[in-house]
Amino acid sequence: MNQTIRVPIHTDKDIVAARQKGRALALSLGFSEIDSTLVATAISELARNIVTYAKRGEIQIHAANGNSKGPCIVVVAKDRGAGISNIKLALQDGFSTSGSLGLGLPGVKRLVDEFEIVSNIGKGTIVKFKKWKA
C-alpha cells in the first residue's frame, strides 16, 4: 500500500507505461472502470506535458489512506524543466504555449478530486493530484 510506483518519463512510450500503471493500481484498489480511466487519462496528460515542455521527468503513483470508502490514489508528476511563469493562466481553459489544444491542466483538474501545482522558473514543475474512491 505504501509502495510508490516510479515511471521515468522521456518518450511517448513512457506516457503509455505511466497511464497503464496508474490504471492497474486504481483497478487493484477497487476503483470503478470509469474512475480508473479518469486516473489514466489525467496521468497521460501530465506525462505528455513533461515530454513536451520539460523533455524528462518522473511520474510517481501510490495509494494512500482515503476515506470510509477506501484508499485514494496519489499521483505526482515532477520535472526539472523551465517551469511555468504564470500558473493562473496555465490553469485557464484554452491556454497553451505549445500550439496544442490547451486543455491540459484545467482538463486534468476536472478529472481528479484534489489538484495542486508548484512551479519554479528554471527549476521545474511539480503537479500532484488525488483521486478518491467513489
Partner: protein, 120 residues
C-alpha cells in the same frame, strides 16, 4: 504498434489493437490519408474499441485524420469509443466536434453503406 487497415469495397477499416503511443497515432494519420488516396475510398472507419483512453493528443489526431480525409472527399467514422473513455473525454473537455461516431463497426458500416448507397 501499427494499426492494420483493411479495404472493404469502397471503404477502409482501421482497427486499433491496443493502446497507441503518440508516434503510433501520427503514423496512423499519415497511413490513413495515403491509403484513402491510393484506394480511392469513399469512407473510412476507425475502430477504437481497444483504445484504453482518449486524451487530448489522441482526440486531436483523430479529428485531424477526419478533417484531412474530408478534404479528400471521403468520410470518416470513429466507432467503438468505450463508455468510460467517453466519460473521461467529456470531463477533460474533448468533444470530437464535427466527427461522425457510431456505436460499433457494424453501425459504422451501415452508416457508410446508406450514405453511399453501395453494395460493399
Amino acid at each position: 504498434m501499427e494499426v492494420p487497415v483493411l479495404k472493404q469495397g469502397p471503404f477502409l477499416i482501421a482497427t486499433v489493437q491496443a493502446a497507441l503511443t503518440d508516434e503510433d497515432l501520427v503514423h496512423l494519420r499519415r497511413a490513413m490519408v495515403e491509403r484513402v488516396v491510393s484506394a480511392r475510398s469513399l469512407g473510412v472507419i476507425i475502430d477504437v474499441t481497444a483504445m484504453d483512453i482518449m486524451d487530448s493528443f489522441a482526440s486531436r489526431t483523430l479529428r485531424e485524420i477526419a478533417q484531412m480525409i474530408r478534404l479528400r472527399g471521403a468520410e470518416t467514422i470513429i466507432v467503438g469509443i468505450q463508455p468510460e473513455v467517453a466519460f473521461a473525454m467529456v470531463q477533460l473537455g474533448i468533444t470530437l466536434e464535427g466527427v461522425v461516431t457510431a456505436l460499433d463497426l457494424e453501425e459504422g458500416l451501415d452508416y457508410l453503406k446508406q450514405k453511399f448507397d453501395s453494395n460493399a
